[in-house]
């Protein structure tokens, strides 16, 4: 029959006021925990998906929209750009640009976005082929880990894409379907949630609205052939540098049977009049602070029909906005915490008056003054602890729902069962607040005047 037992009995006896205190603490803890989780997990996802990208180039419009669309695969594209307008970004002679990859966004399959790009994309997002291989020709796709799981896609499966990002959007069901040739392993990045294919595949799907599929393939092959051997404005030195230089790393990867990054870019540049959505650019790490690099977005924006924007700048702006909202909410949570501490204090203090006989009786029966304080403090700590545990539970259940909601809408999810060390600090904080709330009642209990109380 220790302090815990006695205090617990008393909490049980005063169910109503105890529950109120517990509930208030739980709400405060839950709100703080949700905010913490949100902040941590979103920042983490933001960072992971930045993939070292220094510049996003696309059609003129909202810079943030361009970044959200091209890096995080939410929101609609700002429009399309001509390859010829962005060709300079793929020039390996550019001393500042380390590598660039094209993106063609606009189609989806069962709400999962199909992105036409090069195989380098997968490297940038630290993913790799888990099963199968990269695409070798048009209409072959590699699906992200989450996509394969949720849609139960396997190697060899075929599907038709739809135009747009929503379930009921117009289907591209004429011509040949897409065929799954590879599945990515889990990277924890946006690569998990998209379907990757060559840029050519995207063009092909859109062309097939006007042509018979077989004809298109033939036409395409012809076209490629033509590109390689015709008198297109090809600089041989340039071609050589492409082979040896920036894109050589891509061909070193494990996908032997895939088309090399070199020929992917080459094929792209061979069709300058075609459209892509955007280009992701990485600068050489030692030249990120060079004046031309810093000025590059402005130069592009002022001198070309396309728009360039630095994700670090736009995302910092966005995160600052999110942070201010989170801050406002955390103030609310702190107010709830203070109110809960106050409620506990009031409850303990008023109960003290009712309990003065009991406390005096404990003293008469041999209990020391300190023991009475210990009972009061133990009671507060138990209430605080229960409130904390319930709060944490509520927060993680709420995260589970939030995650499901986000997943269905944006294919982003939160790990509801991840615990951060800050949450343990939150626990310690709750206990400290409970202790503070119990301090005055405990001191008062310590000074219980036995005789006055029993009269």
């Amino acid at each position: 029959m220790n302090a815990f037992f006695i205090s617990w009995k008393n909490i049980k006896k005063n169910r109503l006021s105890s529950s109120l205190s517990i509930l208030l603490i739980a709400f405060g803890v839950a709100l703080l925990s949700i905010l913490l989780q949100f902040n941590k997990q979103f920042t983490e996802q933001f960072e992971k998906n930045q993939a070292g990208i220094d510049l996003v180039v696309g059609a003129k419009g909202s810079p943030l929209q361009l970044i959200l669309n091209s890096m995080f695969h939410v929101d609609a594209p700002t429009g399309n750009i001509k390859i010829e307008d962005a060709a300079f970004l793929f020039n390996p002679k550019n001393p500042f640009i380390k590598a660039s990859i094209p993106l063609s966004i606009g189609d989806s399959y069962k709400t999962f976005r199909i992105v036409g790009t090069t195989t380098t994309f997968v490297e940038w997002y630290d993913a790799s082929i888990k099963e199968g291989r990269f695409w070798a020709k048009a209409l072959e796709v590699v699906v992200g880990h989450a996509v394969a799981q949720e849609l139960n896609l396997h190697i060899g499966d075929t599907f038709f894409s739809s135009h747009g990002f929503n379930e009921g959007d117009l289907a591209h069901d004429e011509g040949a379907p897409f065929r799954v040739v590879g599945i990515l392993d889990q990277s924890g990045t946006v690569a998990d949630k998209i379907i990757l294919t060559s840029t050519e595949s995207i063009w092909k799907v859109h062309e097939s609205h006007h042509h018979d599929a077989n004809n298109i393939t033939a036409h395409k092959d012809d076209h490629d052939h033509h590109d390689h051997h015709s008198g297109h404005d090809h600089d041989h030195e340039y071609e050589h540098e492409i082979k040896e230089g920036a894109y050589a790393q891509s061909s070193n990867t494990t996908h032997n049977d895939s088309i090399s990054a070199l020929s992917e870019i080459e094929a792209l540049l061979g069709q300058p009049e075609k459209d892509i959505t955007s280009v992701l650019v990485k600068f050489h790490s030692d030249k990120k602070r060079a004046i031309p690099v810093i000025n590059m977005p402005r130069n592009i924006n002022e001198n070309t029909p396309i728009m360039a924007t630095a994700p670090s700048y736009e995302l910092n702006k966005l995160l600052a906005n999110v942070a201010s909202v989170l801050k406002a909410l955390s103030y609310l949570a702190i107010i709830i915490a203070v109110v809960s501490a106050l409620s506990m204090f009031i409850s303990l203090f008023t109960k003290l008056k009712e309990r003065q006989y009991e406390l005096a009786l404990m003293r008469v029966s041999g209990g020391s003054p300190l023991l009475l304080s210990i009972y009061i403090i133990t009671e507060a700590l138990i209430i605080g602890f229960i409130g904390f545990v319930i709060g944490l539970f509520l927060a993680h259940i709420a995260l589970l729902f939030l995650s499901a909601m986000l997943n269905s809408q944006f294919h982003y999810s939160l790990d509801a069962f991840r615990f951060y060390k800050e949450e343990y600090f939150l626990g310690i904080g709750t206990l400290v607040i409970s202790l503070i709330a119990a301090l005055i009642p405990a001191i008062k209990a310590y000074h219980t005047d036995i005789i006055k109380s029993l009269q």
Binding site: K9, G366, G367
Partner: protein, 208 residues
């Protein structure tokens, strides 16, 4: 047994009291009678170790408890003195049995189910052990108060106005019960009261 010697007490801004010496043997009882304001309750608190006399000795079971302070006094009180208050006091969140366990625990004594069972049997409320005290009838609550005072096996049982709210018949029953229990435990019983009905029930009495 217990006896007092030359006990004096003065409130800081109030009256002083000089008490006569008296004693009570094991298993015997004494009634301390007095009208209001003669320092009856003060004496009860002094005997109970709740107030410290300015002067004098209070010997309980061979120990002078007057000089004891702090933890030592708390322990002594818990272990050797049982007090039956005029009103029934109890820990409302604990059952009858838990209250008795807790009283022993506060006195620093070990858990003793048998003792608790025996006491409840003697007071004819063993069937109430799992009840919360507030659910007991007034008579049962009074018995429970006695049980609480007895559970530590004290040398001295102090009763504060045990009969004041009772009619003649119940007054007699209550006093008999207290005497009987004190006798059985070989404890000294001291009743402090202004109820002169008790005068003829005790051979050992002092009037303040």
């Amino acid at each position: 047994m217990f006896h007092t010697k030359d006990v004096r007490f003065k409130y800081t801004e109030g009256p002083s009291f000089f008490y006569p010496d008296f004693s009570c043997e094991k298993g015997e009882s004494i009634v301390i009678l007095g009208k209001s304001g003669v320092g009856k309750s003060t004496l009860l608190y002094i005997l109970g170790g709740l107030l410290k006399p300015n002067h004098g000795e209070i010997w309980i079971n061979g120990i002078d408890c007057a000089p004891l302070t702090g933890k030592k006094l708390d322990h002594f009180r818990g272990k050797h003195i049982g007090i039956v208050f005029q009103k029934s006091h109890f820990i409302s969140s604990l059952t009858v049995e838990e209250n008795l366990h807790f009283t022993r625990k506060l006195a620093g004594l070990t858990k003793d189910r048998k003792r608790i069972h025996t006491i409840l049997e003697r007071l004819a409320i063993p069937h109430k052990k799992n009840e919360f005290p507030e659910n007991l009838s007034q008579g049962e609550q009074q018995r429970f108060s006695i049980a609480r005072a007895l559970v530590t096996h004290p040398q001295l049982i102090l009763a504060d106005e045990p009969s004041s709210a009772l009619d003649d018949e119940n007054c007699q029953l209550m006093i008999d019960l207290l005497k009987e229990q004190a006798e059985e435990d070989e404890a000294s019983l001291a009743i402090v009261t202004h109820d002169y009905r008790l005068s003829h029930l005790f051979s050992n009495k002092i009037e303040l």
